[in-house]
């Protein structure tokens, strides 16, 4: 029992926070921000597997988020699919696409990989923007309401619990993956790729696997997003959005699942908190990005954890 508590400590704390947070949420707008933070967190938890654990960068993950959103929107509203079917189909399509892409490009390293993922993101975003008969072009399109077994998620409260539950599921999946042999192989890969290869780890396969998993996380969050937002537009899968996801992952803390959640929450709140300084928003955002990376390059949670540990054991 104790061992289980110990192992899932982060997950339990997160569940408690999600359960308690509604006490502080006063209106639909607060709920809306919390829901978006949760959706971003799901993407970032997946992306952090790739960046933090496997040490590979992706500047194109918004494209997978966007593909998931468009798959759900198109399948439910144009073709009348049930929402879960559309969501599953979207996730599978994105998974296959990510697999096809990952094989050749994950051989690239560092900046070349950044360029390749960025390019894929830009291409997907241009295609969705241009094929207006299918996607509605720049005006976007909307998905059918989120209905499961006759129950429609309509109120912000119901969405909050849906997204909160999904986030817990995502965190649970990610931490299981990290504690599995796959997770250990990934950390070996991050530490020294050649070394990992020498001891017999098929590094390419692991990188591909984790790329596919993180793309599917993004697609899943995108599907939920499509049903929650009034309209899905191409702006959700641009280069800027991809960068935002990376910033969330790195800001909260690389190779830290809780850091990912925290990073996503803070970076989602920030633009809302800065709304009063409208004109200064990009300046402050850019300043925070630079400041964090200069003063705590490991990100928020690992830096604080290290400080605390130092206090405990002097």
């Amino acid at each position: 029992m104790n061992a289980i508590l110990q192992r899932h400590r982060g997950l339990i704390i997160l569940a408690a926070l999600i359960a308690l947070l509604p006490l502080a949420l006063r209106n639909d707008y607060h709920y809306d921000v919390a829901i978006n933070a949760g959706l971003n967190a799901i993407v970032v938890v997946g992306l952090n597997l790739l960046i933090g654990y496997a040490g590979q960068i992706s500047l194109g993950h918004a494209a997978f988020f966007g593909l998931g959103a468009y798959a759900s929107a198109i399948l439910t509203s144009t073709y009348g699919w049930p929402v879960l079917g559309a969501m599953a189909m979207g996730t599978v399509i994105v998974g296959i696409l990510a697999y096809v892409i990952a094989r050749p490009i994950l051989r690239l390293k560092g900046h070349y990989l950044a360029m390749a993922t960025l390019g894929i993101g830009v291409i997907i975003s241009i295609v969705l923007n241009t094929e207006a008969q299918v996607t509605g072009g720049p005006d976007g399109m909307s998905a059918a309401p989120f209905t499961i077994l006759g129950y429609t998620f309509a109120s912000e409260q119901s969405w909050y619990w849906l997204v909160g539950g999904s986030l817990l599921l995502a965190v649970w999946l990610a931490s299981n993956l990290i504690d599995s042999p796959i997770g250990r192989a990934l950390r070996a890969l991050h530490g020294a790729e050649v070394g990992a290869r020498v001891v017999g780890i098929d590094t390419t396969s692991y990188k591909v696997l984790i790329f596919v998993v993180s793309a599917m996380f993004a697609s899943f969050a995108g599907s939920l997003f499509a049903h929650h937002t009034p309209t899905v537009t191409p702006s959700i899968l641009g280069f800027t959005k991809s960068v935002e996801f990376v910033v969330m992952a790195v800001f909260g803390g690389m190779a830290s699942t809780m850091g990912s959640v925290l990073g996503a929450v803070i970076m989602t709140l920030l633009p809302n908190a800065l709304a009063a300084f409208e004109d200064f928003e990009p300046i402050i955002l850019g300043g925070i990005m630079m400041g964090t990376m200069i003063f705590m390059p490991k990100g928020l949670v690992p830096t604080i954890a290290k400080k605390l540990r130092r206090k405990e054991a002097p």
């Binding site: 291409i123 241009t130 790195v250 990005m289």
Partner: protein, 291 residues
């Protein structure tokens, strides 16, 4: 048929010249510090938009150009000094975030100072199109191509024939050895940013009469410059110039013959194909991992 071909090639060479300048800027900074400066596109905007502002304030064009270039170089120096130097030991992802943060920051400053409007400059030598074998050519395109070529020649001379340039090359090759030989590598970092800012600013100024400039026009130009540098092989100056020209021409041809909506996508598809076939760019050396 042949006229439209020439027409597209001219358009491609004009935008390719700008991509080449931006790509060269990426390569110079990469060589000096192994940093990819995602704020490179902002140098173009700052150069172009401050020339517009100075001109509007009554400063004559040549002086405005010089001042705007100096302003951009100062921004480049500040970026190197306050954002890159303190984070020298950070890893690739952290440095990417820092320069992306810098680009958002600078974009915010430009938006605050100059607003969200789209600005333009008058063409340097009139708007009367020239006729070249049936294709038309705006005189400003000649300015873009001429100034870019001149800059590229000067840069090549700088790296091959001056002590400062050779010191920068030595640092790129092996920073520790360069330091042992008495090269001030901190100075190399700062001058690489100043030099890249100069390239960006001048490119931005000559191209503003054609493409106009706004606070966010640097994003796509920056990405294209990065693509040019990667296409040619990071850190390879000649590669970046070739990459820029190839990118410009491919884009113009695909806009002309295939689809203008997909011209950006086609450029990126070609880069992906090149990267898959040659993971270190067209002219890059094969990388070897050190254990």
């Amino acid at each position: 048929m042949i006229e439209s071909m020439i027409q597209y090639m001219l358009a491609g060479l004009t935008s390719g010249a700008i991509y080449a300048l931006v790509g060269l800027g990426f390569s110079i900074i990469y060589n000096a510090s192994h940093v990819i400066n995602f704020a490179q596109g902002e140098f173009i905007v700052i150069g172009g938009i401050s020339t517009v502002a100075l001109l509007a304030a009554g400063v004559p064009l040549p002086l405005a150009i010089v001042l705007a270039t100096l302003v951009t170089m100062l921004v480049g120096l500040a970026l190197a000094k306050f954002a890159i130097q303190p984070a020298r030991d950070a890893d690739v992802v952290a440095l990417i975030i820092i320069t992306i943060g810098a680009s958002i920051f600078l974009r915010g400053v430009v938006q605050l100072v100059f607003g969200k409007d789209i600005h333009s400059l008058p063409a340097f030598s009139g708007e009367t199109p020239l006729n070249l074998m049936g294709a038309t050519l705006m005189p400003q395109s000649l300015w873009v191509m001429g100034v870019s070529s001149a800059l590229i020649v000067v840069i090549a001379w700088f790296f091959n024939a001056t002590l400062a340039g050779k010191a920068m090359l030595a640092t790129a090759y092996n920073a520790l050895a360069a330091r042992l030989m008495g090269v001030n590598t901190k100075w190399v970092l700062l001058s690489s940013f100043a030099l890249s800012a100069l390239l960006g600013a001048v490119g931005g100024i000559v191209v503003t009469p054609i493409t106009f400039v706004s606070y966010e026009s640097g994003i796509m130009l920056g990405l294209k410059g990065f693509s040019a540098a990667v296409l040619g092989g990071l850190g390879n100056g000649i590669g970046a110039v070739a990459g820029g020209l190839i990118l410009g021409i491919v884009e113009a041809l695909s806009a002309g013959y295939l689809s203008s909506a997909y011209k950006d996508a086609i450029a990126f598809i070609i880069i992906l194909v090149v990267l898959v076939l040659r993971p270190n760019g067209l002219f890059g050396k094969k990388g070897i991992d050190r254990v």
